[in-house]
């Protein structure tokens, strides 16, 4: 017991330990490496592709040319990244100065000048490479997938789509590879713009436009935090270069005592930015709505890459977070609560893409939990595995939607595994679901467990509580994931097409199968199967979609390989990458937990906390899958009965209602923020219209008008009248001059 007590008191100050540790792990200072200037191609290629897509749109290219351009340039960018990874020595981060970008100086009192310098430079370490490998790799695969998926929009829409995707890849590249926070900010806003453009891709659908605006505005709130964080870093450290910041941190003698108020605020500001971009409480509501965009976009931007930008920001500036005692605890609490809340919402949604959206929010929460409890490796590994399996899940959803005329309602599809052409989708979908559910020995299992295990291993009571919540979330995750799979791919074969084939008749589409754009709305589609499907057949995807699904599926499976390497006693590749970057931790967290005999999961009888977590987590995962199998495969009416039973009891009725209505967060935001803002807007509009416009501007204009009216009778049109007025005026002036002359001045 004494040991336990001392452990928990020590662990209470975990962030402080990390802070001291950050000094133990000095990040090697970057080496300027002009020989790696070709790494700039990773940014240049998507930029060129974006420009070419713009030209295609301008010249009205009707072929699939923009798709081909984008796919080829992204594959080339991936190849560049890969060769950069192979050639880059791991000893120290490299800084590649491409060109001078922002450089100005101003006088700060007396003769001293302050210089603000933000060169267009790349900061390349293993974290950058890890991120860029999956960003460009998945980016190229999804671009190939989209060449088939978006084919119904060939023409201007096609060029617009691929142009935006290219802009996204450029921005994401500058976010991840940029050598300073200004470049990161450029990329941060750039991905926000691309996200906005792509969510609002179907701009004649009001819901898509609203979703695009929502995403943009929610992100603005987060971006304010990021901007303030960047300003504060400049004020406190006098530089925005990563290398410079890390050097300045290394020279700070005692991080705890010397920290000024503004330095202490830095991690919280950055955190707000990260929560906005990565859809965490309180800024998570935009991500589920972002599913209005075409599905490849959901897979690439809103599941695999852009939403991990927040994680990247925190991982990159981890030494700053480690300085502030409570910052990481806040990150952990927010992440874990988001994971739990989003999982409960995901359980009750009927739109499969929406379920996947909430699962993304939930998994991102896990990653923040990982960063918060001090396993940057677990967090980054989860980013990595999640990128693959979640992209896979989204692409499967997209392929189903593409083949089923926009149907996304899991109540209206069943047994797709037996439908001709849907085999690849169903089985790759299953693998994605297994990863997401954390089924033993899948990639998602290893990455998720390393996060939860660290929460228990830390011994900090707060983190242990979060660990329990994370375990509960893992159970819910397994349940809702397999709820989707058992409903859509399992059971008897039965399906209804979505509303696309009906809704688009007036657009003159001559082939009546799905066009991939649009959503299956819950309130449409009833009865369509009865009269609608004259000659309608679900059409399975062709080579591009199936091929990409298989490749990404392979990626999702292979993402577990680093964990197997670790089990065999070799170095986990991802862990090595993280330990060589700015997100490195003072000591490897493996073994850190192993020496504690007493931990929260001791009841399992397993001493090693990691093994214990694996056992418990796989148990709850399989339990979740079994429960999903009972309610959604074996006895589907039981699920409805359970819902009805909950609804009929006045004590429990709130539960299904709250979950189905997303805990009414949108409604609360509406009342708390939107409604007052709208009232204020109307007040200002009234003031503007009646006080500023009505009184000041128009009233001011009335003064010369009324004065003019006063003299109007003089202008009667008679020439003599004008002449007399003139003569009279001159006479008056003459009289006045004469008077002055007489009386002297």
């Amino acid at each position: 017991m004494i040991e336990l007590a001392s452990l928990s008191t020590a662990a209470l100050h975990l962030p402080a330990i990390l802070g001291e540790g950050a000094h133990a792990v000095t990040i090697p200072s970057a080496i300027a490496s002009p020989e790696f200037a070709w790494a700039g191609l990773i940014l240049l290629l998507p930029a060129i592709s974006a420009a070419l897509c713009g030209l295609c749109a301008a010249f009205g290219v009707k072929s699939k040319l923009p798709g081909a351009i984008t796919a080829i340039s992204l594959i080339a960018a991936f190849a560049t990244t890969l060769s950069l990874y192979l050639k880059m020595p791991a000893d120290a981060p490299r800084v590649v100065h491409l060109f001078d970008w922002i450089d100005f100086s101003w006088k700060t009192g007396g003769a001293t000048w302050t210089q603000f310098l933000a060169p267009f430079s790349l900061y390349i370490d293993s974290l950058t490479l890890l991120w860029m490998l999956f960003v460009t790799g998945l980016g190229s695969l999804i671009a190939i997938y989209a060449t088939e998926y978006m084919e119904a929009d060939t023409g201007k829409g096609y060029a617009r789509f691929f142009g935006s995707v290219s802009i996204f890849l450029f921005a994401m590249g500058s976010l991840v590879m940029g050598g300073n926070l200004i470049l990161l900010y450029l990329g941060w806003e750039g991905v926000g713009l691309a996200s906005y453009l792509l969510i609002g891709y179907y701009y004649n659908r009001p819901s898509a436009v609203a979703a695009a605006k929502k995403a943009f505005i929610m992100n603005r709130i987060g971006d304010l935090g990021l901007a303030l964080g960047v300003f504060l870093i400049w004020i406190n450290y006098g530089t925005l270069e990563y290398d410079g910041i890390f050097k300045a941190l290394a020279h700070t003698a005692d991080p705890a005592s010397g920290a000024s108020w503004s330095a202490a605020m830095i991690p919280y500001c950055l955190m707000l930015g990260a929560f906005g971009k990565s859809a965490q409480i309180p800024l998570f509501v935009w991500l589920p709505d972002a599913m209005e965009g075409p599905t490849p976009v959901s897979a690439l931007i809103h599941a695999a890459t852009m939403v991990t930008a927040g994680l990247y920001l925190i991982a990159r500036t981890y030494p700053l977070f480690a300085l502030e005692p409570h910052a990481l605890t806040v990150v952990a609490i927010v992440g874990c609560s988001t994971a739990f809340v989003a999982a409960t919402i995901g359980m009750a949604q009927y739109d499969i893409k929406r379920v996947m959206a909430y699962s993304t929010v939930s998994q991102l929460g896990y990653m923040f939990l990982g960063l918060g409890v001090g396993t940057t490796f677990g967090a980054v590994y989860h980013v990595f595995t999640h990128a693959f399996f979640k992209a896979l899940l989204f692409l499967c959803c997209g392929a189903i939607m593409h083949g089923m005329a926009g149907q996304l309602d899991l109540r209206k599809m069943s047994g797709l595994r037996n439908v001709k052409g849907f085999g690849v989708i169903s089985w790759t979908f299953l693998i994605g679901c297994l990863c997401l559910a954390g089924f033993p020995f899948t990639a998602g299992f290893f990455s998720k467990d390393s996060i939860i295990a660290q929460a228990f291993a830390s011994g900090n009571p707060t983190f242990v509580t979060l660990g329990w919540l994370a375990l509960l979330t893992a159970f819910l995750t397994a349940y809702y994931t397999f709820r989707v799979w058992f409903r859509v791919c399992g059971g008897p074969t039965k399906y209804e097409p979505g509303d696309e084939m009906h809704g688009h008749d007036d657009h003159g589409h001559d082939h009546g199968n799905g066009h991939g754009h649009g959503h299956g709305h819950d309130d449409h589609g009833h009865g369509h199967a009865a009269h609608g499907n004259h000659e309608w057949h679900p059409h399975g995807p062709r080579l591009a979609i199936n091929g990409v699904l298989l490749v990404i599926c392979l990626g999702a499976v292979l993402a577990a390989v680093p964990a197997y390497m670790a089990m065999r006693g070799e170095a986990n590749w991802v862990e090595t990458m993280v330990q060589h970057s700015s997100a490195a931790l003072p000591s490897a967290e493996h073994g850190h937990g192993g020496e504690h005999a007493h931990h929260a999961l001791s009841f399992t009888g397993i001493e090693d906390v990691h093994k214990a977590t694996s056992v418990v987590a796989s148990t709850v995962g399989i339990l979740g899958i079994l429960i999903a199998a009972y309610f959604h495969l074996l006895n589907r009416s039981a699920a409805d009965k359970l819902r009805q039973a909950l609804l009929s009891n006045s004590l429990t009725r709130w539960l299904p209602l709250a979950m189905e209505n997303k805990w009414y967060v949108d409604e609360v935001y509406h009342v708390v923020f939107r409604f007052p803002a709208s009232v204020l807007g109307h007040v200002f509009h009234f003031i503007d219209k009646h006080v500023i416009d009505g009184f000041v501007v128009n009233g001011g204009a009335r003064v010369p008008l009324e004065v003019g009216r006063l003299f109007q009778p003089l202008y009667n049109g008679a020439l003599q009248g004008y002449a007399a007025t003139m003569a009279g005026g001159i006479a008056l002036i003459a009289a006045w001059v004469f008077w002055i002359w007489l009386h002297g001045s």
């Binding site: 109007q712 009667n716 049109g717 008679a718 020439l719 003599q720 002449a723 007399a724």
Partner: protein, 118 residues
């Protein structure tokens, strides 16, 4: 040389104050006649003649003031005024002819469209 010329001009100039005053008086009377005529008559030709009257009154005043200041430029100016007046007379009479053709009358009342209609 220039000194001699200035002396010559001085002797030629009318230096008598009374004469100058008389010239200014004539100028004022001429101007008043022109103004009254312009204001009271509606025949465009007469009105034009009255403006010419005022014009010449101004020219006369200029010569008178030139004498007061012993400055020849007053007279030089008048030469120019006469030239401009000749050109302007041709222009104005042409305009009067055009206006007459439009309305078949010389009455200036016929041209009051710029009147404010409030």
């Amino acid at each position: 040389m220039s000194n001699m010329m200035a002396q010559t001009i001085n002797t030629l100039a009318v230096t008598d104050a009374q004469t100058v005053n008389a010239a200014l008086l004539v100028s004022a009377i001429l101007f008043a006649c022109g103004l009254i005529g312009f204001l009271s008559r509606r025949n465009m030709i007469i009105m034009f003649l009255c403006t010419e009257l005022m014009f010449q009154a101004a020219a006369l005043a200029m010569i008178a003031f030139g004498n007061i200041h012993h400055d020849i430029s007053g007279q030089v100016f008048v030469i120019f005024i006469l030239t401009v007046a000749a050109a302007e007379a041709a222009l104005a009479l042409g305009l009067v002819v055009l206006l007459y053709r439009r309305r078949e009358t010389l009455d200036s009342e016929a041209w009051s469209e710029l009147r404010e209609t409030a």
